[in-house]
């Protein structure tokens, strides 16, 4: 570089004196001015080369940079992420309490090379996946369920041999991975999934949630390998607490960073609730609905919605038609399955003094819209406190911090202080939920005699974006004591699996907020629930009580206002009367009878039952590793009911090879979209250069150019 600066500018320096001489010989009108100009242009030339030199430097340095570093670029310098475009199509049909969904993921390869697409995607937290088909052009290959390792082995083999293959694995109950090998250049391959889920019914309203993206999760623990650059790449490295961190952390990008038209979903729902539906609404999207008889067709107003938030659809029965009980029946492979729903009619006139602990997640993943929602949720919660209640506010990110040393009386002074504290909360840092749970569930401070009469309730406001869920459930299970845990899910794509299970272990309920304008209604419902009496010690006795009968959930938790009791049972014929009983807070008995022989026909109940059974088996694994018997039982259930589980995966593969031996295969990790309104913990590098060098360079070149013209002009027209 130094050579350039010195040698090149020297050439004009040599030439110019020559010119000078010739011109002065011709005798000009104003030689001094000209000489002066020439001198100036000479200096400008030297300066110019000083500034041109960096250009060369830039060119040579960009070529050298980055050897041995992982890049999301292929050899041609094209960004790999945009080579495979992804589009999805959801067709949901709801019948009664079960929603059945056909999900199509289309991978379009826009490059000139054969591709393998890897896509990590969310499904509803209670989804049971029971079917998979690979569609390539006209051909349809039906996927089979395999033991997970076997599926992986066959998939790898098919990929190496150039056969088209697709596999779908479960990473978490609500997080899955599709792998699609050998997508030919310019073609589209579709993976079709079938799954069903139970519709949530509470407070007289049905709710269905279709997640389309995930909030990047925080991975606690130390890195397993000793690479120092933990924060760098798009994929998290495995840690001691989350050994599969690299499997569940896709690169999260903004919508404008994916290829054109990629990451769009078309959605259509058919709701056949079995009763007249009066109103369909969605807090997350603008939807249009058309009625035909009892069925309602629902779809978002825009054809293709961006996959950056969960779609939530709610529908309510016509006034006066709210069901208080329902029974469904299905026969599958010679076995009877029954699903019962009972809504206890609780009155809300009793009110007990409470001790409320609000816990708010202020980790980096909450930054943006989420922290605003959370702040509003907390303010709302503070407003429900009565004069004889006690409360505390705890925030956590990498550290936990409590506003008061111990719960304080809810007087105006304390509440005002809490409000100020809440308004000042900011989101950054990690998500160390464990220490926050310790602080929240620790009830040593509640004073003996008077305090023990209080109901102790913990409201946990978070997006649940952590990778070590199982360890946290274990903690809740062990330390709960007499507290009750209520989770409030925040953001465009909260981890609903965490919300639901944490509330289940915490013997409370869960609520999700998806929109800042939608904060009040769900929270008012939640706080109304928390203030109302609870139905406890619930027992369900089915007619006959056959030995072969298996009911799930086997033990019914406490029921809050507006919440139904739902149980699914195998091995009972549909006859007799079902009896549900429980105890009200004042000690009196509550009882309801339900004739089973009027059961409506249901679909997919056996899968719902199997899924519940698998969940209950997997719960045993919380207190340590899962033993071989459980693993075998889960695998058997998965194979029998054709369900995807932690140990069984779907695989579809071609018989013949379609990729030539000389063609290479590149792997695309398809990113997910950053949930709407979220900033994520991934900080973007700021813009750190000014236009100054460019302006200086342009200015100098321009001035030199002008000087040259001036000289030329003087010479031509003396």
């Amino acid at each position: 570089m130094m050579l350039l600066t010195h040698v090149v500018p020297s050439s004009p320096t040599i030439k110019k004196p020559g010119r000078l001489k010739t011109r002065s010989a011709r005798g000009d009108m104003c030689p001094r001015v000209r000489r002066c100009l020439e001198g100036v242009s000479l200096w400008l030339a030297v300066l110019l080369f000083l500034f041109v030199q960096p250009l060369y430097a830039e060119a040579s340095e960009t070529g050298r940079e980055g050897t041995g570093e992982f890049h999301f670029l292929d050899d041609a310098g094209q960004r790999q992420g945009s080579a495979t475009l992804l589009n999805t199509d959801y067709r949901v049909s709801v019948s009664g309490l079960i929603a059945d969904t056909r999900l199509r993921q289309s991978f379009r390869n826009t490059s000139q090379q054969w591709r393998e697409g890897v896509f990590v995607f969310p499904l509803p937290e209670n989804a049971s996946v029971y079917g998979m088909t690979l569609i390539a052009g006209e051909r349809e290959i039906v996927g089979r369920i395999h033991e997970k390792q076997e599926a992986k082995r066959q998939y790898t083999q098919a990929r190496e041999e150039g056969r088209k293959a697709a596999s779908v694995d479960q990473q978490r109950p609500n997080l899955f991975t599709t792998r699609m090998a050998n997508i030919p250049p310019g073609e589209t391959i579709t993976v079709e999934l079938h799954y069903q889920q139970a519709v949530r019914y509470q407070s007289g309203e049905f709710e269905l949630r279709l997640p389309t993206t995930l909030t990047p999760r925080y991975m606690p623990g130390q890195a397993v390998d000793n690479r120092p650059a933990q924060w760098a790449g798009g994929w998290a490295m495995p840690t001691t607490d989350v050994p599969d961190a690299d499997q569940i952390s896709p690169f999260t990008v903004l919508p404008e960073e994916v290829g054109p038209g990629s990451h769009r979903a078309t959605i259509a729902l058919t709701i056949n609730a079995g009763l007249p539906v009066s109103r369909v609404s969605s807090p997350s999207h603008r939807i249009s609905s058309t009625w035909s008889g009892n069925a309602v067709e629902v779809s978002p107003e825009s054809d293709a919605v961006l996959m950056d938030r969960d779609l939530v659809v709610r529908w309510s029965p016509a006034r006066g038609m709210e069901p208080s009980a329902a029974v469904f029946h299905e026969q599958w492979q010679g076995e009877d399955y029954l699903l019962a729903l009972v809504v206890p009619g609780l009155s809300r006139d009793q009110r007990l003094p409470r001790e409320l602990v609000f816990v708010i997640d202020t980790s980096g993943s909450m930054a943006g819209e989420s922290i605003r929602q959370a702040r509003q949720a907390l303010s709302r919660g503070l407003a429900t406190l009565g004069p004889d209640d006690r409360f505390n506010v705890i925030q956590f990110n990498s550290q936990t911090h409590a506003l008061f040393m111990e719960p304080v009386p809810a007087n105006a002074n304390n509440i005002a202080r809490a409000r100020r504290y809440v308004q000042g909360l900011d989101a950054n840092g990690g998500t160390e939920i464990a220490s926050a749970l310790d602080a929240a569930l620790d009830d040593r401070h509640s004073d003996g005699g008077e305090g023990s009469a209080r109901v102790r309730q913990v409201v946990f406001v978070t997006d649940g974006s952590v990778g070590n869920e199982a360890a946290l459930f274990r903690k809740i299970n062990n330390q709960l004591g007499r507290s009750r845990l209520f989770t409030v899910g925040i953001g465009s794509a909260p981890n609903m699996h965490f919300m639901r299970e944490a509330a289940r272990y915490g013997r409370g309920t869960y609520t999700a907020i998806s929109d800042l304008s939608d904060v009040e209604r769900p929270l008012d419902e939640l706080f109304a629930k928390m203030e109302s009496p609870v139905l406890t010690d619930i027992s369900v006795s089915w007619p006959g009580q056959a030995a072969a009968m298996e009911a799930f959930p086997s033990r019914i938790g406490d029921l809050f206002l507006g919440e139904p009791m739902v149980q699914v049972v195998r091995g009972l014929p549909g006859e007799g009367e079902l009896e549900v009983s429980g105890r009200l807070p004042d000690g009196s008995q509550w009882q309801q009878l339900l004739p089973v022989d009027q059961a409506a026909p249901g679909k997919g109940l056996h899968r719902h039952w199997a899924k519940q059974k698998i969940d209950s088996l997997m719960d045993r694994g919380l207190d340590g590793s899962i033993d071989d018997d459980t693993r075998a039982a889960v695998t058997d259930l998965g194979l029998k009911h054709q369900l995807m589980t932690k140990y069984t995966s779907f695989l579809a593969q071609e018989k013949t090879s379609s990729r030539g031996e000389d063609e290479t295969l590149a792997t695309d990790s398809i990113p997910t979209l950053l949930p709407a309104g979220s900033q994520g913990t991934m900080l973007r590098y700021p813009q750190t250069a000014t236009l100054s060098p460019l302006f200086i360079a342009i200015g100098l070149v321009g001035l030199m150019f002008s000087a040259a013209i001036t000289l030329l002009q003087r010479r031509v027209f003396p």
Partner: protein
Amino acid sequence: MNRLILLLVTTFGTVLAVGLWIPLKAIAAQELLELAWAESQARQQQTRPWPWADTWPVARLTIPETGQSLIVLDGAHGESLAFGPGQVLGNDDRAGPVVIAGHRDTHFRGLQHLKTGSRVRLQSRDGDWRIFQVDRIRIVDSRHERIDTAKLPQNSLLLVTCYPFNGLENNGPLRYVVEATADSMVTAGEADNVGIGEAVAGT
């Protein structure tokens, strides 16, 4: 013709002046910020350098290698970076990692002289100095990498600027990242005794 030339000269002269104005402003602003920093240290509260500023000094960064002593402003938006390096991440109570970004053409031009093992010092508002040692210098492509704030060690400091240093492009993708870890802390009192504060401020 003469008019045309005059027009050209004025145009390019203006462009040159604008180009030179940016570094000039950067130098001049630091002088003003010194006052604001002294005031915020004296009063222990956020002090805006001029009434309409949307940022305020949060720290002082010194790089002995280049003899620079810079006042760091809050935030890394275009407005604050024009006057001084901006603190993207970090808080007053010195808990957690600190990320500071600066323009490669002005304040952070000197980063290219830092080497592994070099030291940089950061003074917070209460006058305490923290000394960081450079562990690693990396060049990253900002299109494909982000800073995962949750994964940064608690006692780390990142200095970010654009790369290459002589580049003309003002929105290039490459970033020069200096990663440093705190190895000691000197309180305000000690600093006076040892003379760090004076030595640094005098450079």
